[in-house]
């Protein structure tokens, strides 16, 4: 377990990635084997992959190209395989940056057909809610997956609520007919002090999504395992021990008086 806080360098890199997401640049993480990120390359997006490949080949580092700003290209959402790949990269980054990473899964249901069309409309509708470092992909036929680097449970929940509000205000259509799909949103979070593999995070998020779908009413659920791990609540036993001495002292003062 590594419970260290993010280093200044990691915060700086994250900040640069955030900013890079607003510009036509490609971000490449130089990760190495150490506990700290080695560096960040920002390359003009106009440089072609064929031009870049020989340059990158000369680097002795393991490089991880990060798509920016989101996974949506030419109106088509990337698939689940892409999501797994990106999630694995982000979770590696969690170990190095010490910043958490949240995965949000959402589905739209209640319609017989045209689920993928609804997911596409949902992707467009939630675009204003996306942050530059977010990664959006499709999730099966009727859903979306959103990787939110840097988001812990509280922030992820808040952002899920924003997304839900945006989708509720969206006029979905199936052909020429207006439809109102039921939403379900499931969140799982990975923290640096206990990183988990991408598949496990996806499983956790899927369990929460299933719970939300069962509840209905556009519910948002978050991973209970992560929630309890995230808690540092002072226990009853700890309180009892902490208050023992003041009580003794108060009793003594009362007796003396």
């Amino acid at each position: 377990m590594n419970r260290k806080a993010p280093s200044d360098t990691a915060l700086l890199y994250r900040s640069l990635e955030e900013q890079a997401g607003q510009h036509p640049v490609r971000t490449i993480r130089l990760t190495g084997k150490g506990s700290e990120p080695l560096g960040l390359l920002l390359i003009n997006a106009a440089v072609s992959a064929s031009e870049l490949a020989p340059i990158l080949a000369g680097l002795r580092f393991t490089d991880q190209t990060r798509p920016t700003p989101v996974g949506q290209t030419e109106g088509k959402l990337p698939d689940l395989a892409w999501l797994r790949q990106q999630l694995a990269m982000e979770l590696t980054q969690v170990q190095q940056s010490k910043l958490p990473c949240a995965l949000l899964l959402l589905t739209l249901s209640g319609q017989d057909t045209g689920a993928s069309a609804l997911a596409g409309q949902a992707a467009t509708a939630l675009t204003p809610c996306l942050h530059p470092v977010d990664l959006l992909s499709g999730y099966h036929k009727n859903g979306l997956a959103l990787i939110m680097p840097g988001a812990a449970v509280g922030k992820a929940r808040k952002r899920a609520e924003e997304i839900r509000a945006a989708l509720r205000n969206t006029a979905f259509t199936k052909g020429t007919t207006g439809v109102t799909p039921t939403l379900a949103l499931g969140i799982a979070v990975c923290h640096a002090y206990e990183t988990i593999p991408a598949d496990q995070l996806l499983t956790l998020a899927e369990a929460e999504l299933a719970r939300a779908a069962k509840i209905g009413n556009d519910a948002i659920c978050q991973s209970a395992a992560v929630r309890s791990e995230d808690s540092c609540q002072v226990t009853v036993e700890e309180r009892a021990q902490l208050w023992m001495q003041p009580r003794k002292a108060a009793r003594a003062a009362g007796i003396a008086a």
Binding site: R3, P6, E18, V234, E238, Q241, L242, M244, Q245, P246
Partner: protein, 252 residues
């Protein structure tokens, strides 16, 4: 400013969990005591949304940390000289959005602070109460963590909660406890012993003591006069103890 030469400052974070236990008064007076001992001290008001250091010192502040974060203003232009060896970096009051800085803002503040702190021997950070993001961030950025508590059960619980969060989530292991507002030396010792026992039993942490500050009228009087009690009542019990605490801090 006389302290122009590059130094390697000791960064000390002063937190409490509960509010109103005397963090700011302690921070201002210990900074005064350290400066009287010839050390160059920077006191940062780490309560970024509800600042108090300027109030306790009666300062009329023009620029704060907020301008650095929001406008990119040079942090050194916000420094206020109390005496040639004691400077204050004030924060803003009544600005809720300053209480929770984003990653980018934290990174900016860190790099800005690193540009100015090497002029000082000691950098003291008087944080906000609670376990908010800025409190945790300042604590992880510091080398030394001081937690102030009083004998009240609420203060004990909140101080313990703060230590638990810093230890569990941020890997902090070494804490210095200062017991404030004690009626007797023995009460201070008892509170420290009890807190140590709980920390050792549940978190496997062995805290160190910085001392116990006695209840003293000169403390509340000095706050109303907006002046350090060390200057207003240098012979008071509180002043004698704060000097002793400053010496312990110099040896940390």
């Amino acid at each position: 400013m006389t302290a122009k030469t590059k130094r390697s400052p000791k960064i000390i974070c002063i937190s409490s969990g509960k509010g109103g236990v005397g963090k700011t008064s302690f921070s201002v007076n210990v900074a005064t005591a350290l400066s009287q001992k010839g050390k160059a001290v920077l006191l940062i008001d780490g309560d970024l949304g509800l600042a108090n250091v300027d109030v306790v010192l009666g300062l009329n502040v023009r620029h704060t940390i907020r301008e650095t974060i929001e406008e990119g203003r040079d942090l050194s232009s916000s420094l206020v000289e109390i005496n040639p060896r004691f400077h204050v970096l004030p924060a803003s009051s009544g600005v809720p959005e300053m209480a929770n800085l984003s990653y980018e803002e934290q990174a900016l503040l860190t790099s800005s602070l690193e540009e100015i702190i090497d002029r000082f021997d000691f950098v003291l950070i008087d944080t906000a109460a609670g376990i908010g993001d800025s409190v945790l961030w300042f604590n992880t950025w510091s080398q030394v963590n001081i937690v102030i508590l009083t004998p009240d059960p609420t203060s004990l619980t909140d101080a313990y909660a703060l230590i638990k969060v810093l230890h569990t989530r941020h890997d902090r292991k070494h804490f210095h406890l200062l017991i404030n507002s004690v009626q007797s030396k023995k009460e201070g010792q008892d509170v420290f012993a009890n807190m140590s026992m709980v920390l050792e039993r549940f978190l496997k942490i062995t805290p160190l003591t910085l001392g116990a500050m006695p209840q003293d009228k000169s403390v509340s009087m000095a706050i109303r006069q907006q002046r350090p009690f060390l200057l207003g009542a240098p012979e008071s019990k509180a002043s004698l103890e704060i000097v002793a605490v400053a010496e312990r801090i110099m040896n940390l």
